[in-house]
Each structure stands twice: as C-alpha cells, then as structure tokens.
Amino acid sequence: MPELDDSERNELQNTVARLLADRSSESDVRKTMETETGFDPALWQLLAEMGIVGLLIDEQFGGYGAGAMEIERVMEEVGAALLCSPLLASAVLAASVLGASGDDDAQRRLLPDMAKGTSIATIALTGTEGSWTPEGVAVRAESNGTDWTLSGTASFVIHGQNADVVLVVANTEQGTALFQVEPSELGTAIRALPTFDHTLRLAEIEFAATKAQLIGEDGNGWPAVEQGLNLTRVALAGEQAGGARRVLDMTVEYAKNRVQFGRAIGSFQAIKHMAADLLLESESATSAARHAAMSLASTSDDAEPAISLAGFACADAFSAVTAASIQMHGGIGFTWEHPAHLYLRRARADAQLFGTPMFYRERYIQQLGG
C-alpha cells in the first residue's frame, strides 16, 4: 500500500463507518455481545475482505502495509459503533508484534491467515495484576536446550478463547521472549473471564510446563512487544476518541429533542454547558489520538510522550463523556435498553487495557524528562 494522504484516510474512515452503520448497529451489537464468542464471524470476514484485518500486515504476507495513521482512523469508527470483534487483539496487537519480531519463519507461517481473517491471533502478556510492562509478565519459559515449556498465569488475554494463534510473552534466563502455543496444548487451561464490558472478551491462561515454540530471539522479545503495544495504544486511543465523539453526538441530539418544562433540555445551561465542556474533551481526544498516530508513523522523537498523552487524554475523555451522557439522559439513560451504559462499559474497559490514565501520566512526565 502506498502511503495514504489525509483525504484518502478520510475515505478509508468513511468506508469503515458505512460498513459498521450497516452491520454493527446497536441491535447487532446487543445480539453479538450476548453470543459466546462475542463477535460476528460474517462481519469479521467482511472486514478481512475490505483489507481492514490485514491493514497493518506487510504486503508480502497478504496485508496492506499501512500504519498508525490509518488504523487510528479505522478505530475511531470501531469505537463509535462499539464493534464487537478481535480486531484489536489479532489485527493490531498480535499482527504488529509479529511484524516487529524479526522472525521471518513465524511471519510466513502466521501472518497470511491472520490477514485473511481465517486465523485469529492474540497475545498473552500480563499476569493477574494487569500491568502491560516487562514487570507485569508472569509467565516463565524454560528450555531443555531444544524444546521450550511455559509455566505461570497470563490474564486479560483479549479474545484468548477465540484465538487459534496464541502468542505468549514470557521471562527467560536471557530476558524476555515471545512464544507460540498451540491451543490444543491448552485445553481447559484457557478460561474465559466474565467481563463488565459485554462487548469485550478476555481469557486467563494457566501454563503448567506447557509446550511452546520460540518466536524471534531469546531474551530480546520486549522491543517487538513494546513496538506492537505502542501501535495498539494508538489504535485504542482512536477507539476512545471515536467513541467519545459518537456518545457526545447522541447526547446532544437527545438534548435537542427532549422537552421538559416546555423547552428542549439542551436550552438549559446545566445541559448546554456540560455539552460544551464535553466537546472540548472529545475534540482534544481526537487531536491527541491523531497526533500520537502521526508521531508514531513518522517515528518522531516525540512519539513516546505523544502516545502517553493520548493514553490518558483519550481514556479520560471517553470516561467523562460516557459518564456525563447517562446523567444528561436522565431516567432513560438508567435503563438497560438505552445504549449509554454500553459505551460506559467500553470506556471503562478501554481505560484499563494496556495502562491506566494514572500510569500514562506518570510515564508522560518521565518521558518529558521529569
């Protein structure tokens, strides 16, 4: 894929928006989120055919070789539509870690099916504490010289129960390394976790001398993981910005139409001023997510702090907008039938995955030299 310009990126985003308006409506989301796998295979195939699933995968492996700026735009629509899918796990996190792993064999073996959407991948990275840092890795790998086995627990594995490619980050004597485990080796050791965000799927995996295959170099796995995490954080920031914008639009629309005391409630300053403040949050989130994407794409020095900034600004904005949205809707917003709480649940999940706002703020000031 040749590098896109901004109007082509707009077009990409609009294409995804149209598809999701059609196939990931509120009622689609409600139906899908109650299924066991938590995603719609037919829609997944459509996304693969459109090239979204393979967006970040190199052209030589059947993907489109696009980057941060493109996936960020796609994810804005994913957030807006509350898409239920393993996109983040497989097409973003796993695909980009594999892409950065430098392991040509593994890439050849795994990426083409991932790009086609016929294979779903995930990465088991953090333990039960849920810290997406080297210190958070709680799986230990041991080698008898030729074969590797893994022990320990990995948790918060996104769509782990749906993956046929399970990548695992583990500590070795040399440092950190990336492994692949066949799902057949896992059996009941992989356990679906109950999630507060019904549009998300998480799993926990217990490794007990489980056979595994090394990917990339022993001891030098973390840089690829970090590279993939950074891209994933940008993608997630896009999801948050897009979700915030959609919820704000929905809420403003309601405030224009809901009449109390003979006036649209949006004519009351209590509602109007909240909406104005939320617009600032929401627009700032979009700016932060897109700036992080651009910095990462241009491998600017600024990329690390830009990602941290997006990490907390987008999480805080999505949380603030969804929280206020329920309040601004009043009684109807307190009902299960209204979508406001579905977005709130997603916002809460997104504010935890890969790092909390507090974590990102601390990281930000460090990256700025503080």
């Binding site: 918060f156 307190f334 299960w336």
Partner: protein, 407 residues
Amino acid sequence: MSEASGDNPASVSNDAIRDEVQSWLADNWDPEAMKKGAFGPLGRDWTAKVVDAAWAATRWPKQWYGRDYNDAQARIVETEFARVGAPGTGQDRINLWANTVLTFGNEQFKKKYVPALLKSEINMCLLYSEPGAGSDLAGLRTRAERDGDEWVVNGQKVWTSGAATADYGMLVARTDWESPKHGGISFFFCPMKQPGVEVRPLRQITNESHFNEVFLTDVRIPATNLLGPLNGGWRVLQTALAYERSMMGEGARGPRSGAKGASEKGEEELIALAREAGRLSDPVLRQDIARVIAYKKLNALNTARAKAELEQGTSSPIMSLGKLAMSRILHEEAKLRTNLLDAGSLLESSDYPRAEDANFLTLNAYFTSIGGGTDQIQRNIIGERVLGLPKEPEVDRDVPFRSVRSS
C-alpha cells in the same frame, strides 16, 4: 388510663411517657418471636399491635390512632422502640401512604384506609413519573376522564416500584387540559388489581429490575378515591413528595456487596480495600481515599448539625444538601474503587466481588444522581428555595396545557 395517655398531652411528663412505653414494650415485644415469624408474614401482627396500642403514629390526633404528642414526646417513644429493636412506630414521620391519606382523604375514606395502611395490610405503589415527564413531573400526560361515578384513566407511568404486587397506586393524572400545567392535575388512589393495568419490569443499567413501567388502559377508579380537590392534585403531590423525601436520604446503596446506606465507618472499609489491593502505600490514591472518606464524614456531620439545629427550632439549610452530597459520594467512591483495582475492574461476577462492587457502584450511583430529581434539579431547588435565587423564566407556566410543547 395512665398519666401518659391523659387528656392534655403537653402536660404529660417525659418520664411518664418513657415509663409507659417501656412497660408496654416489656409486656409485648418479643424479638425472638419476631425472628421466628410468630408475628405473621412481615411481622404484620406486631405492627397491628403497635397501631392498636396507639404507638404507631403518636404525633397524630387520638381519633386517628395517635396521641397528640409533640415531636420531643414522640422521639421518646421512637428512642425506646429503637433501643429494643422493635419496628412499627414513627409512622407519622415515615409512612408516606398513611400520611397522604390522613391529610387529604375524607372521613369515610380515611376510616377505610388509614388503619390498613398503618398495619401494612395493603401494598402500595407510586404512579407519578412518565416517559415524557421526568424532571418536569407537572408535564404529565396520563389522562383521567369522568364517567359516571368513576374516573377512566389512560396513559403510561414509569419508575414504579412494587407495581406488580400493589393493591393500590397513588396516581397523578391530568383532568383538565385547558388550565396551565400545574392546575389541571388530580391525585387518585388507584386500584391496581384490574385488567387495564399492565405491569412490565424495567431493566436497569445494573441489570436489575427494581422498577416497572405501568401501562394504564381504561383503568377505572371510584370517584371517592380522589384525594384532595379536583385539579388540586399538584399540592397533594408536593405533600406526598415531602413525605417521600423524609423517608429517603438514608437509603442510597453503596457497593453491591455492602450493606445499604453510606456508613460513617466507610473509612475503614476503603482503607482495608486499599490494603488488600496492595495500593495503600500509593500517595496519589491516599489523597483520593482521604477525599472520599472526607465526603462521607462531612455529609454525616452536616446531617447531624442539621438535626441539632432543627431540634433547637432553627430551620437549617443543610437538609436539602444531603442528596447532592450523596450523589458526589457515590460517584467519587466508584471512581476510587475502580482506581484501587485497576485492571481487576474489567471483570464482573460473584467470583470477583471487589470488581462487582466497583462496577455496580459506578452504575448505581446514577440512581441517586438521577432518581428522585436529578442533581441538576436538586441544584435548582437549593439555589431557589435555600439561597433565594430567582427562578428561570418558565415558558410553559401560564399556557393552557393543551398547547405546551412536548418531546
């Protein structure tokens, strides 16, 4: 007849009242019997006993099961009941239904329903809010039309609890569409066990169903069940709402696993939770924990001061702040609990009670910040009634209701 129930209650000494209630409780109250169910379902037999002995509503007139006590005297009775853990007294403060009927019913109606309501013999529900009339309750559009000796009601109510089991509902409906909004509303005691009443559970964002939608189709109410004057229902409703507010306030629910009510000892639980989560040493969270504990403690102190001021006869502006304060407490505690758990808050189910607490509280906090008047309406009330700030222009106030704009 003892001295305490003599003809001139003001002259009855506090000691005499205390003696009488203590001796009556000693003779009648049996906590073990209550526990074993010997007082019937929901302890109704006990309540009946309390009512018959005129302890249920001592501030009320004697002809209506009361003793004409003043507030200080009634508090003595309540204190003694509380000391032994016996329920049933203080209904003149907290029995919304009985108070409303006593205030607005005619003699015959009161004779029929006051004792039954005091004795909890009939189940009740509230038919106030509508999908189009939430913050603006006076914008209600359920209609009642006169048909001979009856009223015929059509419309939809919402946020009704207990509708499925209720014998009667306290209903506000529009009886005059030509008057401005507040002037065309009447207040009814509506029989619920009839075919036109359809009750559907309402699913909350917490995935619970404590409330119902109630669809009313040609529901019939005897004309005698009108409470207060025709088209004078707004004033009846205000009185009923005041009773309701005095019942609430202590009722906010904390985390799902916790007991009801924001305990003053909430500090210990939050500190224990932080310790358990290994986060008690985090200086940032320590500031937040202190903040949340302080909100709770300050609200308790405000309430205590308001009560003391009321007892001294000074009217206190603080009472009206409690609901707004509670809303902040709940939302802020939910945030704190989430931050203490971090990724743990991604989960829910009884296997993860701490996560369930944080997540439930996050959602259920809106029950307080929206229910019973949103925080925004509450701020209007405080600004106008407590601080004396002027009202906003009301565009629909003097317009015939028929021409008022709706959603």
